[in-house]
């Protein structure tokens, strides 16, 4: 980001050392946008981004999906954001709050945010601390259909000290809160003045932000037009107009990228089967970008057969990951042992390497007492090693992978039947209340750069057991629970590192999910689109759209 241009060429390690005692890894630079001192170059040109899903939710705090954030990042700003290396950088905040700069108290309980004083909303009104206060309160407003309250519900005594400063107290230390704030866009208080039902405020379909691009218009079902915000407080924007075009079919999206109608392919990107061909297109740049989504076979640990660790280990040995990646996913994704993306600072590279070995798998099951029955399917104490595997019906690649795995498992005397369901059924109670045996699924257990996966691995996070998270495999390991409790209250990355490495180690050993691979996206754009940068810590391409330009 722009911090680099300011001469702060620190690598992660130096940054961490320098800010060792601070709550956040950050580069907190006052006068962050030095470029502003120079005359701003006028934005020019247009970029057409193709999305295979239609953004329809423009209030960033209502329930929404990934593609909606494509618009949010262009129109709004959070207090601070995260760059691809996992460093926080300030946007609406004058500096990222840290323990070192007094933004966060040493115990993580008291927060103080200083804001920029030169920011205006798109309608010309000044941005102040009242807007931040309003946003944080909106998220926990009982009448508002807030998409996420995690972290925000711990905020107490939210106080506006001055138009550029506010403070609050946290009910308990919650280290991941920084990551939540980094994806919390600030919305204008005045847009909700006199609005009775905030769920249907006019603002929700005509958003007013502080971002590099202003809302221009939307043709429902077709496209959205955004135009440059000439008064943007930071560097950029460099493009006059951004068009987000909805192209529902991925083949058609790719075709329009080939014909040149689309300048940049956004969600769901270029399909893996077009990767090779895309690389040969003239005048196009094709890149693989890592994302934080991990494909796995998730197991329901409550099922009698999966309670036996030997079964989980044997199944993992019978999983020919590389063959699935190469034959079905065109070699695009990378195999992994962890739920944590490789790009993360907290990634544990020393986890035991998976070995595809049918004989070993059989030996493990033999030793554990699972003996083949009359039909060749193993049994033990009256329990047959036979289970269902489910995923979203119609997902061709997954369905092929399932059939491949089914064959491998049969080789070791395990019966896996395939029972796929439409998405609305699959991801309803069937998933949430752990009604499945096993599921092939891509999960994103982390929020931005934060390493805390409590919602997925804590024993208190299983809805089937009355919990509130998404620990649908009903995984329970007291040691993992304790580690995550500890890590969530620590604010120093070096101190958190060994904890989350250990969590990965334990999860790898327990195998509530058989990790298959980390997804990679095939991203494509015209060669003259500059400034585009993949970011593992953000799920959408437009996170730095303010930096994009046409050469």
């Amino acid at each position: 980001m722009t911090d680099k241009q300011d001469g702060f060429l620190l690598n992660r390690r130096q940054t961490l050392l320098m800010l060792g005692a601070t709550g956040l890894t950050t580069i907190a630079v006052p006068g962050f946008f030095r470029g502003e001192a120079l005359a701003k170059e006028a934005p020019k040109g247009q970029i057409i981004i193709g999305f295979s899903q239609e953004p329809t939710v423009f209030n960033p705090h209502l329930l929404h999906v990934e593609c909606d954030e494509g618009v949010h990042y262009a129109v709004f700003d959070p207090l601070f954001d995260v760059d691809p290396e996992g460093n926080y950088f300030p946007l609406l905040a004058a500096e990222v709050p840290t323990v070192a700069n007094g933004g966060i108290s040493a115990d993580g309980l008291n927060w103080k945010i200083k804001l920029r004083d030169d920011v205006k909303w798109h309608d010309g009104k000044p941005f102040t601390a009242e807007d931040v206060k309003f946003t944080l309160e909106l998220l926990t407003d009982p009448d508002f259909r807030s998409w996420r309250r995690t972290g925000h519900e711990l905020v107490r005594d939210l106080t506006v000290v001055s138009p550029t400063e506010l403070t609050w107290r946290m009910e308990k230390p919650f280290a991941p809160y920084a990551a939540f704030l980094a994806s919390t866009f600030i919305v204008p208080k005045h847009a909700f003045d006199g609005v009775v039902d905030k769920n249907s405020a006019p603002f929700n379909n005509a958003p007013i932000g502080t971002g590099a691009f202003k809302w221009k218009k939307r043709v429902a079902g077709d496209h959205i037009e955004l135009e440059a915000n000439p008064d943007y407080f930071g560097e950029g924007p460099h493009i006059q107009q951004v068009v987000i075009k909805y192209i529902p079919d991925l083949t058609v999206l790719y075709t329009q990228f080939k014909t040149g109608d689309v300048d940049l392919v956004g969600v769901q990107w270029i399909t893996a089967d077009h990767y090779e061909e895309a690389k040969s297109l003239p005048g196009r740049i094709i890149e693989l970008t890592g994302v934080a989504t991990i494909e796995s076979i998730s197991l329901n640990m409550e099922r009698p057969y999966f309670k036996d660790p030997a079964v989980r280990e044997a199944l993992y040995h019978a999983l020919d990951k590389q063959a699935i990646i190469d034959a079905i996913y065109y070699g695009v994704p990378t195999p992994t042992e962890s739920y944590m993306p490789k790009e993360s600072y907290y990634y544990n590279p020393d986890l035991p390497k998976h070995e595809y070995n049918i004989d070993k798998a059989k030996a493990i099951l033999d030793k554990a007492g699972w003996k083949p029955g009359a039909d060749g399917i193993r049994e033990k104490d009256g329990v047959r090693l036979s289970f269902k595997n489910s995923t979203t019906a119609g997902n061709n690649l997954r369905e092929q992978a399932q059939q491949f795995v089914q064959q491998s498992f049969r080789d070791i005397g395990v019966e896996m039947t395939i029972s796929n369901l439409p998405p609305a059924v699959m991801w309803g109670d069937y998933w949430m209340m752990s009604q499945f045996d096993s599921v092939m699924v891509g999960l994103t257990p982390l929020i931005g750069p934060d390493p805390d996966p409590s919602d997925f691995f804590k024993s208190t996070a299983s809805p089937a057991k009355g919990g509130t998270g998404q620990n649908t495999w009903v995984y329970a390991n007291a040691e993992v629970d304790a580690l995550m409790e500890q890590g969530g209250a620590l604010f120093v990355p070096e101190e958190r590192l060994p904890i989350y490495k250990k969590v990965q180690e334990l999860v790898r050993k327990d195998l509530p999910m058989l990790p298959m691979f980390q997804y990679m996206q095939v991203r494509g754009r015209k060669a003259d689109v500059d400034g585009f940068k993949g970011n593992i810590n953000n799920r959408i391409d437009t996170w730095n759209i303010r930096d994009w330009r046409r050469k």
């Binding site: 247009q46 192209i247 058609v252 059924v425 991801w427 998933w431």
Partner: protein, 316 residues
């Protein structure tokens, strides 16, 4: 006439009620629901989803939800989309315009060509023209629109670069000519199938009429073949076509899903698929009621028209 209209109207209301009950039940009784698609969103919890379901009133008993919906509908409130919160009627109207453009263009094309082809293959029954016409119609009926659309894009957009690869208009242009340029490929692709349908119907209708006694009489009177064709054959052969057009009206305004997808045309077909995919119940119900009304209206108009042009039919 008035009695007939009132009777039809009364029947229609009952029918619409039945359709709405069935539609509402099927939608809501299917497992899952409008919120399950958000399950895999990072940071999503069951607690959050349950709370939002409560706030949206999705936890109320189904009959209560239905009566609430119906009561609002009677008052003219078709509800709001779960996705973007806009009024359902406004959303339908927005997509209807795109569909009318596409379907209007292609239907006009297919009726003109189809009628011409049908009549000529019929009066020259057994000729080479008839055979070729029949084969072409069969082939075009069998070609999947998706494939044909992509081939058309490949040839005319990618290779020849004559026409745009899709979309309804160029962002920032939107002039009449721009619309026409964008309309050509999708409407021709769509018309191809419909030409086949229309020409087959027209051919058999014409054949039936051509063999009637009054045509022989007309010829025996010494009328020119052209006059026989235009006045006697066509006039009578067109009658079943009116009914066909009436039945086709809802299909016409229902949009052409495949063509709309290939050519990224923001019409009714895609709206229906998207709304179903996102379990956007208010919009799906709105579309269901809208198309049910169209079916009833289309049939009613067709009946009136037939009664008007065919003296043998009386409505009471």
């Amino acid at each position: 006439m008035l009695g007939y209209t009132l009777r039809r109207l009364w029947q229609s209301v009952i029918l619409l009620l039945i359709v709405s009950v069935i539609g509402f039940s099927v939608l809501n009784l299917a497992p899952g629901g409008p919120l399950s698609q958000y399950t895999l969103t990072p940071g999503m919890t069951k607690e959050a989803l349950d709370r939002i379901a409560e706030q949206m009133g999705l936890n109320r008993p189904l009959p209560v939800q239905y009566l609430d919906w119906l009561w609002r509908l009677v008052q003219g409130d078709w509800g709001h989309s779960y996705r973007d919160g806009r009024p359902v009627l406004e959303i339908i109207a927005g997509h209807l315009w795109a569909t009318i453009l596409l379907m209007g263009g292609s239907t006009l094309l297919s009726i003109l060509i189809g009628t011409w082809l049908g009549v000529h293959t019929a009066i020259r029954r057994g000729s080479a023209f008839d055979y070729v016409g029949t084969i072409v119609a069969m082939v075009s009926l069998s070609i999947p629109t998706f494939w044909f659309g992509l081939v058309a894009i490949y040839v005319f957009s990618l290779k020849l670069q004559w026409l745009p690869a899709g979309n309804m208009f160029t962002v920032g242009d939107g002039s009449f000519l721009d619309y026409v340029r964008h309309l050509i490929l999708p409407s021709v692709v769509l018309a191809l199938v419909n030409v086949a349908v229309w020409s087959r119907y027209m051919r058999s209708a014409t054949l039936e009429v051509v063999n009637q006694d009054f045509i022989r009489t007309a010829r025996a009177k010494g009328l020119s073949p052209r006059r026989v064709l235009l006045k006697h054959v066509l006039g009578n052969a067109m009658l079943p076509m009116i009914t066909l057009a009436g039945v086709q009206l809802p299909a016409l305004l229902g949009g052409a899903l495949v063509t709309e997808t290939v050519f990224t045309w923001p019409g009714m077909g895609r709206l229906f698929l998207d709304s179903l995919g996102y379990n956007d119940y208010p919009v799906v119900m709105g579309l269901l009621m809208f198309s049910a009304i169209l079916v009833l209206l289309g049939n009613f108009i067709a009946d009136l028209l037939v009664a008007f042009v065919d003296p043998r039919v009386r409505l009471d």
